[in-house]
């Protein structure tokens, strides 16, 4: 069943990416917007999600094959390959946000800032250190910078904690903008990724070099997925959920609310940092304008759209949020309006997101 579903989603993606005329694009979108709630109401999405969880190996192979098919079909198109790699890297960052927001309930409206920390880390360190190490340092730096926010976040709740992250996001952008050592408003060049002598900025034959980043993005996304899934299905995942749902009950049962909020926030920022470092190497460039509040909102909407706390939902959400506005380019400045309406509509029809999270099963 899940192989059929993956094939269907892949076919849909191919049609959408191939579609040249705006009429075709709109038609495909309307089909999805009408179809998804129907599939949700009949319980089909539920079953599909269960089946994904149950047959892990088949699903992994299925996703790999699907990605290979997409790469095989579009290997020579820069734009499509860039899109695909972006979806994978955003998935990594949003898995981090899921741990923060979806599990521990710590809202983070500064996701783009933590991507930025990773990005600037790779700009500064890229020429000097092996790039795998740079990715790790990017993550660690993001986690470290995030620790500045821990005290104010622990002392506030709800909207107030969210406002603190908003303020931090704005601060980060101003900080890099006025800091000439980091290129100021113009930003900095970033060296392309080089892993053990493999220069990712040289494409294989006819293939776009972005196809290389698709491979790296997939490896990172799979690793992040694996880690977060294990985290969810452990006592730690349970403690994080408990912290989100009822802090008073937590205190009475000895769950250290501060400890788990700090853990989730740091863990999530690490993912955002790694994704940001890889993303910067791919685009070859970092600038303050790439890490605005709007970019943070995009990250949050991915997490919400897919279904808060559902890992498959994150990947789906990233694909929708990143690909849709690009395919609607002909609508010019209205495309973001349409996109916003879509997000609101989906959340109205399915408030828990496209694929709502289920009660935890430790060993599915």
């Amino acid at each position: 069943m899940n192989l059929v579903a993956i094939a269907a989603i892949t076919a849909y993606a191919v049609f959408l990416l191939r579609a040249e005329s705006q009429a075709a694009v709109l038609g495909l979108i309307v089909l999805a917007v009408a179809g998804v709630p129907v599939l949700g109401k009949t319980g089909f999405l539920h079953k599909l999600n269960e089946s994904f969880e149950k047959h892990k190996k088949t699903t992994l192979i299925g996703v790999l094959v699907a990605l290979s098919v997409l790469v095989a079909l579009f290997y020579d198109q820069h734009f499509v390959m860039l899109m695909l790699a972006s979806v994978l890297l955003y998935t990594v960052a949003c898995l981090g946000l899921t741990v923060q927001f979806g599990y521990a309930g710590v809202v983070n409206f500064a996701g783009a800032a933590f991507l930025g920390v990773g990005g600037y880390a790779s700009a500064v360190l890229g020429p000097h250190l092996p790039h795998l190490l740079v990715l790790a340092i990017g993550g660690l730096l993001a986690a470290l910078v995030g620790s500045v926010l821990i005290l104010p976040i622990l002392r506030t709740r709800g909207h107030y904690a969210a406002l603190i992250t908003v303020a931090f996001g704005l601060l980060f952008r101003t900080f890099v903008e006025v800091n000439d050592a980091l290129g100021g408003p113009q930003g900095m060049q970033v060296k392309g990724m080089n892993l053990f002598g493999w220069d990712l900025n040289t494409g294989l034959g006819e293939a776009s070099f972005y196809a290389n980043y698709v491979a790296v993005g997939f490896a990172l996304a799979a690793a992040a997925f694996w880690l977060v899934r294990r985290l969810e299905r452990s006592w730690i995942g349970l403690s994080l959920d408990a912290v989100r749902l009822d802090e008073t009950a937590c205190a009475v049962f000895g769950i250290d609310v501060a400890r788990w909020k700090i853990f989730a926030f740091t863990f999530g920022n690490f993912f955002a940092g790694v994704a940001g470092a890889a993303y910067a190497m791919m685009t070859g460039f970092v600038a303050p304008n790439s890490f605005t509040f709007g970019d943070s909102l995009i990250l949050v909407s991915i997490v919400l759209l897919g279904g808060l706390g559902n890992l498959w939902g994150v990947a789906l959400g990233a694909a929708i949020v990143l690909v849709l506005p690009e395919k609607l380019q002909a609508l010019q400045e209205y495309r973001f309006l349409l996109y916003a309406v879509l997000v609101i509509a989906i959340l109205l029809v399915r408030p828990a997101g496209l694929i709502p999270r289920r009660a935890r099963r430790y060993f599915a």
Binding site: L231, S234, W235, I236, L238, D241, L245, V252, A359, R360
Partner: protein, 258 residues
């Protein structure tokens, strides 16, 4: 009465000018069931919140098996063996019954990052052990409920939610259990059923001390060995149910004076 497990003396809690608990003295022995009654706002729940560390006492002591609870954090008090239920059910509704129970079992679980992420075989053994433990505990209340271990708590009816909440308080094997109005929101029939369960569990754990806040007098009459009556934060009577029911001060507090 056996030697006191919990011994409070002069316990005082103030909210601004309001004295919510006024020099309360109360002893609870191991294995005892004590009913705590009194009109609304008389300080019953405040008492629970104080000895579980949610509120700070302005004066007084609460000794529990050699430790002083008043200076301790909620986490430490739970670790010492005091657990409770809440007046308004505080289960985590989206989580499964098992997850809710494990929130109560927190202190017996391993929380290391390495253990949870990378030692899956050991974690799996720990989880399976706890699933078995949770199933047995629930089965003592209701066999049907034990079969719904992995259903979301929000899918259960009121009485089953109460049962889960009591099991959550019991799973860490406490020495003192505080029940805050377990009958709230239930029918008489359900309340009776729940009390049957409670007495059955008690019979298996003879050392467990229980303090129960209740408005239903027949519940108090049935389960408690001793009652304390609060009014405006002070204890106005203490004794067997028959004694306090006959006490004119208690009648005045409940029914008003002419």
């Amino acid at each position: 009465m056996s030697e006191a497990l919990l011994s409070c003396s002069g316990l005082t809690v103030r909210f601004g000018g309001l004295v919510a608990l006024d020099r309360l003295d109360l002893q609870v022995g191991a294995g005892e069931i004590v009913g705590l009654i009194g009109p609304n706002g008389s300080g019953k729940t405040t008492f629970f919140n104080t000895i579980t560390g949610l509120y700070r006492a302005a004066a007084g002591t609460a000794r529990f098996g050699g430790a002083e609870l008043i200076a301790m954090k909620p986490q430490a008090i739970y670790g010492a063996g005091v657990t409770r239920t809440f007046q308004r059910s505080r289960l985590a509704l989206p989580l499964s019954v098992f997850d809710n129970l494990m929130v109560g079992n927190h202190r017996r679980l391993q929380h290391g990052l390495g253990f949870n992420l990378f030692r899956r075989a050991a974690l799996r053994r720990e989880i399976e052990h706890n699933v078995e433990k949770a199933r047995l505990l629930l089965a003592a209340f209701s066999a049907r409920l034990a079969g719904r271990l992995f259903d979301a708590a929000g899918a259960l009816g009121m009485i089953d939610r109460r049962r889960v909440e009591i099991c959550r308080a019991l799973v860490s094997e406490p020495r003192l259990l505080l029940l805050d109005e377990p009958s709230a929101g239930m029918t008489h029939e359900e309340t009776r059923e729940l009390m049957d369960d409670l007495l059955a569990v008690r019979a298996r754990l003879p050392a467990l001390a229980v303090v129960i806040i209740e408005h239903e007098m027949n519940v108090i009459e049935r389960v408690s060995q001793r009652c304390a009556v609060l009014n405006y934060g002070s204890k106005i009577a203490e004794g067997s149910y028959a004694e306090i029911a006959a006490d004119p001060q208690v009648q005045a507090a409940y029914l008003g004076t002419e």
